[in-house]
Symmetry: C2
Subunit: 390 residues, 2 copies
C-alpha cells in the first residue's frame, strides 16, 4: 500500500479555559492507504502541529512532516519504523515534528491492524494483553474539603486508585500537606494514592523534598513531575531522598531518548509515556522494553479521548507487572463524543485493552463536525491547509 | 516599559532546495516596547514558529507564546529571565515554543541594549569582548577534488579554520577518508580542520568509530554531530575512543538542560549553541558558564544571517579561551541583504563581536520587503496572522 492521504481534524470546545484539562481541544488524524483508514490523535497544540505538516521546506534537514509521509509504502510495522527514521533526519530542525508525527504514527498502526485483523498490541509483539487497574486522574480541589469530597466520590465510583494533581499543589507546604491528607482520607487506607506536582518546583529540589514526609506518611505511591521534563539532575537528587515515595515522570518526552534518560539519570520509579507526544506507539514500546530491563514501571500518560487512551495502552498491554493505567474521568464532551466505543472499567473495576483490530476504537463522525475549528492557512495566496471533508 | 508588539517577518528565497543551507529562509522578529525597537531571528521552520505564537490556547499549560510575552514589563535583564520562566510553564506542552521564543528573546536583549546604550554582552555580565578566529563553514564537495578546491579557496580568502560538513560524509568509509584528506590538503598543515557528520550515524557508534583514525591522521580538531541530538550514550561511548579528536555537538538543544546533558553524559569537548533555538541569549550564557566549569569549549552554531551571528557571539563574547567561532561564508542573498551592517574578519582575520548597543546590527527594511512570504492564518474566519507592516 501507499499512504494516500493524511488529514487533520482540529476540534475544540466552544470555550477553552486555563484549567489543566487537556481535553478542551484535540487534533485528530485520519490516514488513508490502499482503501483502508486509520485514526490517531496528536497531543497538545493543534495549530503548530498542523503547520509542521504543511509548512514550506526551509532546507534539507527542515522539511515538513508531509514530505516524509505522503506516498510512502506501508506494508508492515517495519515501514512505520523506516518512515520514523527518515522523518527524524529530514525534519531534524523542525521541533514540532514529533508531536505531529505522533498522531500519524498511531493512525498507521490502527490502519495496519485493520488490514491484518489484529490489535495494535499484537503487531507490537505482545501475545496477550493484561487488564490494568485504572487510576482516576483528577485535579485537586481548591480547598482540602473539596479534595476530600472528590476522593470519596472517586472511591464511590469503584476506583481503587486516584491521582490528584496540579494547582494549588506547590502553593504552600501546609496547604500541600492538608491536600494530600484529604486525598488519602477520602480514598480510604487501602486506595492507591498518586500525587502530580505539574512541574511546579521547576528545579528546586529542597522545595520538593519538604513535601516527601507528608507524602510518605499518607502512603503516596508516587510524586509525579516535581520538576521540568529535562531537569534530570533534580529528579536524581530527589530520588535519593524520597524513600518509599517513588518519582514519576516522562510525559514531556518527545522521543524515546528523553524517557530513557529520565530513567537512567533521573532515577524515576515510574515512567509515564504519552503516545501523542513521544512519536507514537513504537518509541513508546521501546521505552516499555527499556523500563522492564531497568526495573522501572511503565505507565501511560493520557488526558484526552478514548482514542488516545487506547493508543497509550498498546505499548505496555503485554506487561503483566505494569498494573496501573491513567484513566481520565473528567473529559470534555468533545473528548467523550469523539468515539462511539467506550473503554470503561469491567466488572472487576479493571480496564481491558481493546482486543479488536488496530486501536479498537470507532470514531464518531458527528463529533468531527460538531467541534470542528475552521482553520485556513494560506502561503503565497495558495491554501495549504483547510479543514478536511469527513 | 511594556512589550507593545511582537511581529514576525517570514522571508524566503524564491526557490528553496534540499541543500543543507539554512539561510534559504528566515523568521525575523521585531519587538517594540516604550518606543524602542529590537530585532531577533528564530532558527528553522518559520510557519510552525509563527503558529506557536498566535495559536489558540489548548489549556492552562499549552498557551500560545504570545500569552506570556505581550504586555509584559521589560525594564531589565531580570524581566527577560522572568518572562522565560513564565513561558516555560504556560507553554509546557507546546513543543515549538522554544524556537519561537528564541527570536523574541534575542530581540528583547537588542531592545534593552539600545535603551541602555550597551552591547548585549555587557548586559549579560561580560566586561570585555574577545575577538574570535572564524571558521568558514561549508559543505563538502560532491567529490574529494571539489572539496580540495573549496578548502584552497577558503585558505586563499584568509581563513585559518574551516568546517566541512554533511552529505556525502557517511556514504562510505573510503569516500569519507578521501574527503577528509582532501580538506586537510587544501587547508594546509597548520589550518584548523573541523568535520561535521550531520547526525548521519544516528546511534551507530561503530560506524562513527571507523572514521576516527582518518580524522586523527588528518588532525581534525573535532567530529561534530556524529549522532542524533539526544543520543548521549552514543556520544559518551565514542568520546572514550576518539583520542585527540574531540566530539562537538549541541546545536539541537532547545533548552540549556539538553546542552548540559551533552556535556555531562555525552562528554563532548565542544558545545555548540544556536541562540535561535535554545531560547535566546540567556540560556546560552548559562551553558557558556557551565562549559567553563566543566572544561568544555563553547562555540556558536550559526548558519544564517549576521543578525543571528551577532546574537550567537554574545553569550561567549567574554570568554578569552573560547577562541573560534562559526562564520557562514556561503549565505543566500536573503541572509546577506538582511542587515546593512556586516560582521567581517578584521585585518588579523578575526571576528570582533559588535561593540555597539544591543546586537549592534542594523536591519535592512528593503530585504524584509524583497523576500517577504505572504502568509495568512485564519481561525474561525478571523485572521490571526498576516505579514506585519515594515
Amino acid at each position: 500500500m501507499k499512504i494516500d492521504s493524511v488529514d487533520f481534524f482540529y476540534l475544540a470546545m466552544p470555550v477553552v479555559t486555563t484549567a489543566g484539562d487537556g481535553s478542551q481541544d484535540a487534533l485528530v488524524v485520519r490516514v488513508q492507504a490502499g482503501g483502508h483508514v486509520g485514526w490517531g490523535e496528536c497531543e497538545a497544540a493543534p495549530l503548530p502541529s498542523i503547520a509542521a505538516f504543511v509548512c514550506p521546506m526551509s532546507h534539507g534537514a527542515c522539511r515538513p512532516v508531509s514530505a516524509s509521509v505522503l506516498g510512502e509504502t506501508l506494508d508492515g510495522p517495519e515501514d512505520i519504523q523506516r518512515i520514523a527514521a527518515v522523518l527524524a533526519f529530514n525534519s531534524m530542525d523542525l521541533l514540532q515534528a514529533a508531536h505531529t508525527w505522533s498522531g500519524i504514527e498511531m493512525a498507521l498502526w490502527d490502519l495496519l491492524g485493520h488490514v491484518r485483523g489484529e490489535p495494535a498490541w499484537k503487531l507490537l509483539g505482545y501475545k496477550k494483553a493484561y487488564p490494568k487497574t485504572p487510576y482516576a486522574s483528577v485535579l485537586f480541589g481548591t480547598t482540602p474539603d473539596q479534595t476530600l469530597a472528590r476522593a470519596k466520590e472517586i472511591r464511590a465510583k469503584g476506583f481503587r486508585a486516584a491521582k490528584f494533581g496540579w494547582a494549588p499543589y506547590g502553593d504552600s507546604l501546609e496547604g500541600d500537606i492538608a491536600q494530600v491528607e484529604a486525598a488519602r482520607q477520602g480514598l480510604g487506607p487501602d486506595g492507591i494514592l498518586l500525587i502530580d506536582a505539574g512541574q511546579i518546583f521547576a528545579e528546586d529540589v529542597e522545595a520538593a523534598a519538604q513535601r516527601i514526609a507528608s507524602l510518605a506518611a499518607n502512603k503516596a505511591t508516587w510524586l509525579e513531575e516535581p520538576f521540568g521534563g529535562h531537569a534530570y539532575e533534580a529528579y536524581g537528587q530527589l530520588a535519593k531522598r524520597s524513600g518509599s515515595v517513588k518519582l514519576a515522570g516522562g510525559e514531556a518526552a518527545h522521543n524515546r531518548h528523553m524517557a530513557q534518560h529520565l530513567i537512567d539519570y533521573g532515577h524515576v520509579g515510574f515512567v509515564q509515556i504519552d503516545c501523542g507526544r513521544i512519536g507514537g506507539l513504537w518509541p513508546a514500546k521501546q521505552v516499555a522494553d527499556y523500563a522492564v530491563k531497568k526495573g522501572v514501571t511503565y505507565v501511560n500518560h493520557t488526558f484526552t479521548s478514548n482514542l488516545a487512551l487506547s493508543a497509550s495502552l498498546q505499548p505496555y498491554a503485554g506487561l503483566s507487572d505494569s498494573r496501573i493505567c491513567e484513566y481520565p474521568t473528567a473529559l470534555s464532551s468533545l473528548a467523550t463524543e469523539l468515539t462511539t466505543s467506550r473503554i470503561a472499567p469491567n466488572a472487576n473495576g479493571e480496564i481491558e485493552v481493546p482486543d479488536a483490530p488496530g486501536l479498537g476504537v470507532t470514531i464518531n463522525p458527528a463529533a468531527l463536525k460538531t467541534y470542528a475549528v475552521d482553520v485556513e492557512i494560506k502561503v503565497k495566496s495558495r491554501t495549504i491547509f483547510a479543514p478536511p471533508k469527513i
